[in-house]
Symmetry: C2
Subunit: 600 residues, 2 copies
């Protein structure tokens, strides 16, 4: 693990043994692929991550992009790394062959980006946003928009952004004010201010394509009156050549605690005559259009959290193995040699906690990626519908659980390093700062809780929630056939039962009409539900590990034993608190809701 980005055995185990990504090769779309071609793409991404992205991760933190003389300047290493990435074709990893893509399964395509995130989340931001914006155009845009804008994006010639947030309306998108005025030629002129626009300006690409939410003049108020527009930094002529500069101005850069390599910008649209934009999809359907891609974007956030946690874990593990400090409990001889940190129980506990968070988080994200493919390419309508529903249900968890617990992993990685971990001479403090963004962007932790409990659990009459609970129950039943897993399976069952009871109690309050009360602790529900799902994935990992030990897998016996112990740790140290939270949720407590402003 010289690169300290991922444990290659774990990646292979998760993709090929746990999630059986090779099964997706049965879909026509992936018929040309084999495990070798999938692995080749991952190896390539890991090589680029380790050789081109990781080496300047600290540099772009120390020397963040600057706004000087109307231009954004940044370290040259960023452009060089992105140029190498463009060359690999990985920016179109999931796209069609005919568009210059690789047609890789979602789990592999997302993992390729994930490896870049673990290596250097700042530089990766430019590529990640471009991939997301191109995907959006490919799903929502016209054939002509796809050719003129998305294809150069997939090739890395143009980069992209997502322009949602405005200064006066963060999470409350329905309140955005940017307006779009129709022009006789079918285009629009946009006027408004956007904030927190990542990668909003730079000189890393020939052009920047902004995907902008705005309102038409006759739009209804709120979220039903939002449309999606494509606004290029430089206009693009019919032949693909670049025309004049559009009326999009960089108003300033925002300086962040972490994630500093990716510029966060304030953009003014229409300071002069209005920024030329083109409607994408139907009028007043912009939020739905944007959210069509949101599941994948949110898996991306979750996976980014995981990978920051994962690299921190591997750094802490190496440090704990190499650094000698103290003696075993009971060794009173001050002249005996100091032992490696990893020999101390508390260090091992902190490493094991990191392991269950990051490997559990990775399993969760890849579960989502597998559903992305099943949703698109599953053999029957029912398969696809079921996958789509489960993906919708799991998305808030995939986005949120890692952004909380893999951030905690980053804190533990600092703690393992002691005083050194707090210094900027070691990388773990940067991972912690970088990862702190993830519970905020792409829908805050609180928003995800409302989404899960307020919408997803109940959608389709609770069908997908029940399906997930059934799958968990099935796994528990299977795990009980393995003697070693009976205790973990029982603990998971107790936890799932407690959450089901809590869900029932909350649903009864909701049905009674007191929605505010029902949703008052939605964030706690989100965290607890996430633990149940990750506990389920740990039990599945443990079963696969036992199968592997019995001869069916490709990893070492130590690796499999580590998975078993990690499952046991999660069941014993993490799951019991969920029962406690579930009891609180079941009581539909309103202590916080009832607290008045003036009582603080």
């Amino acid at each position: 693990m010289a690169q300290k980005i991922i444990n290659p055995q774990d990646l292979a185990f998760q993709l090929y043994e746990l999630h059986e990504v090779e099964k997706t090769l049965a879909y026509d779309r992936y018929a040309d692929h084999s495990r070798d071609t999938l692995q080749a793409a991952l190896d390539l991404a890991l090589k680029v991550a380790a050789e081109e992205f990781a080496p300047h991760a600290r540099l772009v933190d120390e020397e963040e992009p600057r706004f000087e003389n109307g231009r954004v300047t940044m370290r040259p290493e960023v452009g060089k790394a992105l140029d190498v990435l463009k060359e690999t074709g990985l920016m179109a990893a999931s796209q069609d062959y005919e568009r210059g893509g690789m047609q890789l399964p979602a789990a592999v395509a997302q993992m390729c980006v994930g490896l870049l995130k673990g290596a250097n989340v700042g530089t990766q931001g430019y590529a990640g946003l471009t991939i997301a914006a191109a995907n959006l155009i490919m799903v929502q845009g016209s054939e002509e928009q796809q050719k003129r804008y998305a294809e150069p994006m997939m090739a890395g010639r143009f980069f992209g952004t997502m322009c949602l947030t405005e200064p006066h309306s963060g999470s409350s998108l329905g309140d955005l004010r940017t307006r779009a005025e129709p022009q006789p030629d079918g285009s629009y002129r946009l006027f408004g201010n956007k904030i927190f626009i990542s990668a909003g300006d730079h000189e890393l690409s020939e052009n920047i394509i902004h995907m902008v939410l705005a309102r038409l003049p006759d739009a209804p108020p709120g979220v039903r009156g939002i449309s999606l527009f494509l606004v290029p930094k430089k206009l693009v002529n019919e032949d693909g050549s670049l025309g004049e500069r559009n009326d999009v101005a960089l108003a300033g850069l925002i300086h962040k605690m972490g994630y500093r390599g990716t510029t966060s910008t304030m953009l003014n649209f229409g300071e002069k005559d209005g920024a030329v934009g083109y409607l994408v999809g139907e009028p007043n359907n912009g939020l739905a259009a944007m959210f069509h891609m949101m599941n994948e974007a949110r898996i991306g956030v979750g996976l980014g959290s995981v990978m920051l946690g994962y690299t921190g874990y591997l750094h802490a593990l190496e440090y704990a193995r190499e650094r000698r400090q103290g003696r075993p409990v009971g060794d009173k001889n001050p002249e005996s040699p100091q032992v490696p940190l990893i020999q101390h129980a508390d260090i091992r506990r902190m490493l094991l906690a990191q392991k269950v968070y990051v490997e559990g988080g990775l399993a969760l994200c890849l579960e989502g990626s597998m559903l992305v493919d099943q949703k698109k390419h599953g053999p029957t309508d029912t398969d696809r519908e079921l996958a789509a529903g489960l993906l919708d249900l799991l998305t808030p968890l995939i986005k949120s659980w890692p952004s909380r617990y893999c951030l905690e992993a980053n804190s533990l990685a600092i703690q393992v390093h002691g005083g050194y971990g707090y210094t900027r001479e070691y990388p773990v403090e940067q991972f912690y700062r970088d990862n702190r963004l993830n519970p905020i962007h792409e829908g805050t932790h609180g928003i995800q809780g409302m989404d899960l409990l307020g919408r997803k659990v109940a959608m389709a009459g609770g069908r997908f929630y029940l399906e997930l609970m059934n799958r968990i129950e099935t796994t528990i039943g299977e795990a009980r056939h393995y003697e070693r897993l009976v205790d973990s399976a029982n603990r998971l069952q107790q936890t799932a039962k407690a959450m089901a009871d809590a869900t029932g109690a909350i649903n009864r309050i909701k049905a009674s009409g007191d929605v505010e009360k029902a949703l008052a602790n939605a964030t706690l529900y989100l965290d607890a539900f996430g633990h149940v799902v990750v506990g389920w994935l740990w039990l599945r990992q443990a079963m696969k590990a036992l199968d592997g030990l019995a001869g069916s897998g490709g990893q070492t016996a130590e690796f499999y034993e580590g998975k078993l112990r990690a499952c046991e740790f999660f069941a014993r140290y993490e799951l019991p608190s969920v029962v406690t939270t579930a009891d609180l949720l079941k009581s539909v407590d309103t202590t916080a809701l009832d607290m008045a402003d003036e009582q603080f």
Copy 2:
């Protein structure tokens, strides 16, 4: 609360109603004081904190001290603020009148420093370390050392440091190698390297007095062979005038994630002929001498964590009241005005969590401060002995509980601010970075757990542990007389009972000789025990609040009602997880202990 450092009502409530600091005025030492003089000192500290310290807190983070041409340079505001502080006499707040001190009770003296920490922890560092080093000389040093070194420190002419850590031995002090060679004149020459020495060099004072742990030539190995030395940066002549530069060289500055205003240095002692040092106290008794002051230093760390959490909470509270965002659950009218953030249940939950952490943490630190005075000035030997034992027991909790939970409060303060909280345009991200040091320095979280469970709980045959548990039980009994507190009291009793059971089970394993197993989860024990003690302090606050509502107190009805709800929140949202952890501890689980290196 324009200063956003502390809620003045809460400070008054905690000092005068909860902890009844006026009772210490019965001690001869404090006979000259009255509530007015105590409050005058606090008001002065708050004024200096708000006017001189807070305004440049961000500046010293952005422009941290630099090492240039052999000198440390830093922002001039630091020296200016410290000069004002010196003028106030607050650096000798707890010292004798005859030494130029104010003879303030410990709770008030420590609180004065705490206010500076909340305002600007970086600049405060120089003063805080000086006060600690001066205290150490006053307790351990000779009359002549007190006059020549400590008095100028208390006046602010000299500053001080604590030099413990060496590059190869962080937490493992017994392995330190710095050596002290006796000289014919009774002085010593020191040779060795120290790291992470806060305030180790600067030009803020006429001189710097280093308190250095080192070994005599004939010293036994390990912690029993450590002596304490006083090593001035510049030698001090008999008449108090400064002599030549000592052989102490700044080898470099360490760059930290936060707490940047306080330099962290590497110091080389004896690059040439050896650094001239003077033995403080008895030979080979240095660690005991240093630890004599450690209780107060550790209260200082805990209080620093609290105050960083507290200022973050007040910033988040103000933001939540002013920022309008979104609508109440159920309001489907997109044209209704947006409401202040504080009207959302999840925001209130995050504010309430911050409130219970920071106000609970403050109550805990002040409990320790009160014991400091009872230990020194209590009327009988028994009182003093009991106070000393309870203080020893509580110290690891006072140091650790705030450094974990008030850091969590800082994370919640960021979350309340949303994307803005992640930017360096708002102060909350700095509080979060600054506070992340506290679980590391002055004994890591893990070390504190070992101290609590391995030593403190069992000391004197468990006498002080049992005394604390009895006090908690007594409070529970008293609280049950208030109808409103019955539920909270019952929850605390259940929690305390679970911890008592866990303690018993662990003690049995320890008695059987398997100490490593008994201590394997000492950190979890620390966290859980801390919650029991803070739960006790919340119940005591709630009783005082009910008394206040009945007319005996000086605060507003809203304030008291807020305390009651906060107590309920702590009992309902925080205590139940302790029962879960206690169950795990009772099982004396060894999952992490048993994990082998190669299984990670």
